[in-house]
């Protein structure tokens, strides 16, 4: 049984971004993001480069074993790696997650929203998921705002799998039907907008 990576390898394109599988050259910027106290406050906390490397390898590893994982997000205009966004479901995880983590240089531009929309579309369309969740630190208001903007609602909270069982996260999410209804509404309003005088 060979690698579970789909063939051809998925590449998603949005107006300003490319989402593709992680590559070795992404690590320098990934390590920058993981050594940034502000960028990691609500997730892993600051990691050393060796720790960041081990965590970075989990994404390509998950692609090979599960056939899906978070995508590397690249800004089209600069070619820079700006973050990691997409489907994620490690062993024992609390559901079918679409998560996001952006390098701080890419904050405040709507990139996370743009990439997460594409990743959620892909997860429902290609993986056939029935719902998406986002596990968010209760103090992380920026990610909560993004989840809301994506149409997800807070459903409750739960603790992470051991050994991080003392960490509680809020679970945000929505069903496939809710996402598809939202997409249909958007397409209809886009259509009306283009016909507006």
């Amino acid at each position: 049984m060979p690698s579970a990576v789909p063939s051809p390898e998925p590449v998603l394109e949005t107006e300003r971004l490319i989402l593709r599988l992680p590559q070795r050259g992404d690590f320098e910027r990934y390590a920058e993001a993981k050594t940034d106290p502000d960028g990691t406050r609500y997730t892993s906390g600051v990691l050393s480069r060796p720790e960041a490397w081990r965590k970075f390898l989990e994404y390509p590893g998950a692609w090979m074993l599960q056939g899906f994982a978070m995508f590397s997000v690249v800004e089209k205009s600069s070619g820079l790696w700006i973050g990691i966004i997409g489907p994620w479901q490690p062993e024992g995880w609390q559901g079918t997650e679409v998560g996001w983590s952006l390098h701080r240089s890419a904050w405040g531009k709507g990139y996370a929203y743009e990439a997460a929309e594409a990743a959620i579309d892909w997860s429902f369309d290609v993986l056939g998921w029935q719902e998406v969740i986002h596990s968010i630190n209760p103090d992380n208001v920026r990610s909560q705002a993004l989840a809301q903007r994506l149409g997800s609602r807070k459903r409750g909270s739960c603790s992470l799998p051991p050994p991080r069982e003392n960490v509680t996260v809020d679970i945000w999410g929505q069903t496939r039907e809710e996402w598809l209804a939202r997409r249909a509404r958007q397409q209809s309003s886009d259509h009306q907008a283009t016909r507006a005088p």
Binding site: M1, P50, W53, R54, P163
Partner: protein, 184 residues
Amino acid sequence: MIDTGLTLETGRLILRVPQRADFEGWARLGRDAEAMRHLGGTKSAFEAWRHFLANVGSWRILGFGPFSVIRKADGQWIGRIGPLHPEGWPGDEIGWTLAREAWGCGYATEAATAAIDWAFASLGWTSIIHCIAPDNTASQAVAKRLGSTLQGVGRLPVPHDQDPIEIWGQTREEWFARRAARTV
């Protein structure tokens, strides 16, 4: 792109790129306190899974990583053996970790020999190391059987930076000289 069908075969063992089905054995090994004694202690299922992902990710990103070792006689996954070089590591390592039920049969030496042959032939490595705890006599015996010698005290990157470690190893020339001598 790596060849995920890569397979090495020895007398009693198959070495291949890890697959999803190997995780059950991998997780069981992580729960075994005796097998994990020199490797930072037991691992939860979640920790074992993330470690498994990182090892497989190494294959995709670097083109090498630890092989899954399968015993031909019964098809069982018995451990992980092979090349690794994470960020901050003190050298090009050939490492081995076997499930306890596979200890004492010479499997580690047999599999490591195949992995070292492959690493020197395919990765262009000029030397190899093995990072071994000072009181891990079983692994020291494997290193000696492979022809490696103790090179000194070493230090691993975080989160293993407090673990006492000795570095064993040998050069490519030493390895091939020994292989040539054995086949004469």
